[in-house]
């Protein structure tokens, strides 16, 4: 046990990768239940390992473990669900769980901004675009993943390397936050408007450029659009 103690994390991530592969959409009739159960076991073991390695004998924070479990399992479902609308809705669950994790890290403004901007604007945009650009029925490219074994193996290697690098060093306790009496919004606002004022202005310019660019890219041009649309209709017939 002493010799293997450092390698439990890799084994747990490997188990999660196996669950992800089993849950990948690999055919019209395959359901994701087997992969889901394996992934659930992997997440449970992961939380136990995290508690054992980083908080030996200390207080257990139930909020962190439940939010982390929800975030990881919902993200797994985003990645493996054969229907895009459900993937977007599971991503809303991931965003809400990550907002909860940010609340635990004393980042209240960021948690609220995440829910408003991400779940409230970006994901709604995704759902609307999925509605606009969909093909009737269940097209093959939704329920057939492209080389899931290679993708899962590659991501397992990366995740294991990052998690190993994180856990194989001694971490000091968190430094005391500068001013605990200020509200978080006040402090972050202070930081953004004083230290990062130039970056803030540039972010505004970037948003303007993106709005203009998005409109121009998706604009329907009368002449060329009609010919290419009719050409694609003839190809499909």
């Amino acid at each position: 046990m002493g010799l293997l103690a450092g390698y439990w994390l890799y084994g747990i991530i490997a188990l999660g990768a196996a669950g992800l592969y089993l849950a990948s959409p690999r055919g019209r009739e395959r359901s994701a239940w087997a992969g889901g159960i394996v992934a659930l076991a992997a997440v449970a073991l992961l939380l136990v390992e995290l508690a054992r390695r980083f908080q030996p004998g200390g207080p257990i924070n139930g909020y962190f473990y439940s939010l982390a479990a929800v975030a990881i399992l919902a993200a797994g479902r985003v990645v493996t669900h054969p229907r895009p609308v459900y993937a977007a809705l599971y991503l809303v669950v991931v965003v809400l769980a990550v907002a909860g994790l940010l609340l635990l890290l004393d980042a209240e403004f960021l948690a609220a901004a995440l829910v408003i901007i991400y779940a409230g604007a970006i994901l709604v945009t995704y759902v609307v675009v999925i509605m606009l650009a969909q093909q009737p029925g269940a097209p093959q490219y939704d329920w057939q993943a492209r080389e899931p074994a290679a993708a899962v193996t590659g991501s397992f290697v990366l995740t294991a390397a990052i998690a190993g690098a994180i856990s194989n060093r001694t971490w000091s306790s968190p430094a005391a936050v500068r001013s605990l009496t200020d509200s978080n919004t006040l402090a972050v606002g202070n930081e953004l408007l004083s230290t990062y004022a130039v970056a803030l202005e540039l972010a505004g310019v970037l948003l303007l450029v993106a709005i203009t660019g998005a409109i121009l890219i998706a604009l329907k041009r009368p002449g060329s659009e009609a010919s290419s649309a009719s050409a694609s209709r003839e190809d499909r017939r």
């Binding site: 980083f54 962190f64 097209p139 490219y141 991501s155 994180i166 968190p174 694609s232």
Partner: protein, 100 residues
């Protein structure tokens, strides 16, 4: 009080999940949803490290990351709509000829 490494491992796992989805799915919109999952992992990582250091730099960085995520989502979806109009399908394999 939970420490930074636990959050960072969760962030790394979210990133890996998004990466696996991005590489294996064929629907263009779902591929971009997987990049959003990757961005969530990065957000958790940034704020955890910011908390560890005790200043607000991590959270400021995360705010700018939100801006970039919104910009990327808008432009990516505009491009996806354009590609869908060209070929009539959301399949990434329809653009296979780009591989040469």
């Amino acid at each position: 009080m939970t420490e930074a490494p636990q959050y960072m491992v969760v962030g790394a796992i979210l990133f890996g999940l998004g990466l696996a989805g991005f590489l294996s799915r064929r629907n263009l919109i779902v591929m971009f949803l997987c990049t959003e999952v990757m961005l969530q992992g990065v957000l958790v990582n940034l704020v955890a490290l910011g908390r560890q250091t005790g200043n607000y730099r991590g959270q400021a960085f995360a705010m700018f990351l939100l801006v970039i995520a919104a910009v990327e989502a808008a432009l990516a979806l505009a491009l996806v709509i354009l590609l869908f109009r060209r070929k009539g399908t959301l399949d990434a394999e329809a653009w296979r000829t780009l591989r040469g």
